[in-house]
């Protein structure tokens, strides 16, 4: 059978003419990439120069029957704070939801934990199969819009992840339906998010992300206000770096601290850009160890960056606070925030462990969660203990700076709770 809508002698010239017209117009209308400077989050200290040193910690999550992880926090336009994290029976389970809670900075209290989005709702909104949810990151744009990015997997493990987003224009009270970012040409898989978003002067969002399929490397996405990816640059390639946490230093400069996932000496990696994220330096190792665990950084002042990490070669039994210079070549340990009672992080016998973690639990929180302690102790075995004994784990830190002199740090506390720590500059300065 043959179709002859057009006489064959006209077919080629007509098609050639159409080709020329369509591609000429497409070329003319193609998106023009525009470089846009960063919005610089300038630290304005000394608003309250005589403020007493302040340090307070409490738990954000209140569910003890869940594995909770990968928390992030933002300051909402109203001045309240909102934290998001994932929780479920275990990491990667189908029952994992993305939770949120609000923090009142006047009352210093966290509100109720709410399900922000679950797997079934994500699946229906995207019209595609979703097996599990993971890492959520929340950020507030300069225009007041609040963005939540979170990971979902349709097929396979975390290497099969894609990034979804939701936005809120009313201070995080109601949210748009989830949509998916298009980030890779390979079935749109293997882009994950963990680091804080940054913002450009043209209204676009800069999102540090990472790739995990066949390789592990960090990337930088630029996303417009309609949620379309308009550029993607690679910070590195290969198989040994991920989870960039980015700090903007000037309108064109930024640095990223990277989790190291390779062999050999395990050190924090650093990559820099002087082209508003369009080009990144080859990552270099710093003197500080990193046990293949997530880390977080925020600008402290014009010359220094505050970094929170597990400063260990292996395991995650200590969480420390460092100050580093602008190019992260010089680091100074300021304070160990959390630490296993065993300085080498060795297994602790069960009979001693309950007393030790009970003490840490009580010290970690104001009075609001003290009623949970017995229930918490009863559930310890399956999360923190193995045949050799029990251990302490503090990981996945995420830090932001308030408009004032305050810092808000949030992290996973012994696989069981999301812990929030608030401190001011004067508290930190006393440990210099």
């Amino acid at each position: 059978m043959e179709i002859n809508f057009i006489p064959s002698r006209y077919r080629k010239p007509l098609l050639a003419l159409t080709t020329v017209i369509v591609f000429t117009v497409a070329y003319w209308l193609k998106p023009e990439y525009s470089q846009a400077k960063f919005i610089v989050d300038r630290p304005v200290f000394s608003q309250v120069p005589e403020a007493p040193p302040y340090f307070e910690s409490d738990f954000v999550s209140v569910t003890l029957d869940q594995y909770v992880h990968a928390a992030s926090i933002t300051r909402l336009p109203s001045g309240e704070f909102m934290a998001v994290w994932f929780g479920g029976s275990r990491e990667g389970a189908r029952d994992v939801n993305i939770y949120s809670a609000r923090f009142d900075p006047e009352l210093k209290e966290w509100g109720a934990n709410r399900v922000l989005v679950d797997r079934a709702y994500t699946e229906q909104s995207l019209s595609r199969m979703v097996r599990k949810l993971g890492n959520p990151v929340i950020g507030t744009a300069p225009d007041g819009r609040v963005w939540v990015f979170y990971v979902s997997v349709s097929v396979g493990g975390w290497a099969g992840s894609a990034i979804n987003y939701m936005v809120s224009d009313d201070d995080g009270r109601s949210w748009s339906k989830p949509k998916q970012l298009r980030t890779t040409p390979f079935f749109n898989i293997s882009t994950l998010v963990r680091g804080q978003p940054v913002f450009h002067q043209d209204g676009t969002i800069g999102l540090p992300v990472y790739h995990e399929f066949m390789g592990k490397f960090p990337e930088y996405l630029r996303i417009d206000q309609q949620g379309q990816v308009i550029d993607k640059t690679r910070m590195h390639y290969g198989r040994d770096s991920l989870q960039p946490s980015m700090v903007v230093l000037s309108e064109t400069e930024a640095v990223s601290v990277l989790r190291y996932a390779g062999d050999g000496p395990r050190r924090v990696l650093v990559s820099q850009t002087q082209q508003t994220g369009e080009g990144w330096s080859m990552p270099r190792a710093t003197p500080v160890p990193n046990p293949n665990s997530g880390l977080t950084a925020v600008r402290y002042n014009d010359d220094e960056i505050l970094v929170v990490l597990n400063d260990l070669e292996s395991n995650r039994y200590r969480l420390s606070l460092y100050l580093a210079n602008r190019d992260l070549s010089q680091w100074k340990l300021i304070k160990v925030l959390e630490e296993s009672p065993d300085p080498m992080g060795r297994w602790i016998p069960r009979d001693q462990y309950k007393g030790l973690i009970n003490k840490q639990f009580l010290e970690s929180d104001d009075d609001s969660h003290q009623h949970l302690v017995q229930d918490f102790l009863a559930r310890l075995d399956k999360r923190m203990c193995e045949t050799e004994g029990c251990n302490f784990i503090y990981d996945y830190p995420y830090i932001i700076r308030d408009d004032a002199d305050n810092f808000h740090l949030i992290y996973t506390w012994n696989k069981s709770m999301i812990k929030h720590v608030e401190f001011n500059k004067n508290w930190l300065e006393q440990y210099r």
Binding site: L15, A16, F23, R128, M129, P185, F186, H211
Partner: protein, 207 residues
């Protein structure tokens, strides 16, 4: 109805329609099979249409040439059209195989250069596509030429959830299909040449 789901439903129906051995089924029967598969793609399982499962596996919408290839395949299957063999058919498949070889290994992290980024500023890719479309046109493969024109048109209209031209131009299914067909064709050509070269030449002498 959600256009993405409609597209997924067509992909679902076309995919299984092309895999089914339809034998001597009459034209009406073939159309009925396709319609049934299309309807089946909307049947919900656990709250999600079956097409949504395939969409999850494929990571969203397929590239425009893949969709055209599926439409073309379904028309062939239905109306028993014959396929042109040789360079005319192989040229576009070579084009997509080479594009895939440029794109996928590097984009998965094998080099510091990420060619996917060129798709956000697609001037060069549009020129390559235009050259390909004109070449296929003059080679006589109007379907391939029209496919690239449709791809350019779709990008111009922004019908996909992407501002990257690569997402319109190619996907892993098209790449793997093109690569397999081209390699099979090339191996056949090489084998034929090898056999011809080894065949003894009969020399006839004039009396």
């Amino acid at each position: 109805m959600n256009p993405s789901l409609l597209c997924a439903a067509f992909t679902f129906a076309a995919f299984f329609y092309l895999l089914l051995p339809l034998g001597r089924l009459a034209l009406g029967g073939r159309l009925a099979v396709f319609t049934a598969l299309f309807a089946l793609s909307f049947v919900p399982h656990d709250g999600l249409a079956l097409a949504g499962y395939l969409r999850g596996v494929f990571g969203g919408e397929l590239a425009i040439p893949t969709l055209v290839l599926l439409v073309w395949g379904c028309l062939r299957q239905t109306f028993a059209w014959t396929v042109t063999e040789g360079v005319q058919r192989m040229a576009p498949l070579c084009f997509f195989a080479v594009l895939g070889l440029v794109l996928y290994p590097a984009t998965l992290g094998l080099s510091s250069l990420d060619p996917y980024r060129f798709g956000f500023e697609p001037g060069l890719l549009l020129l390559v596509s235009a050259a390909g479309a004109l070449a296929f046109c003059f080679l006589g493969n109007c379907v391939a030429s029209l496919t690239l024109v449709l791809t350019g048109l779709a990008f111009m209209l922004g019908i996909k959830n992407s501002q990257n031209y690569w997402d319109y131009l190619i996907d892993p299914l098209l790449f793997v299909y093109s690569l397999v067909v081209v390699l099979r064709w090339l191996s056949g050509e090489v084998w034929a040449w090898f056999r011809a070269a080894r065949r003894p030449v009969l020399v006839t002498s004039e009396a």
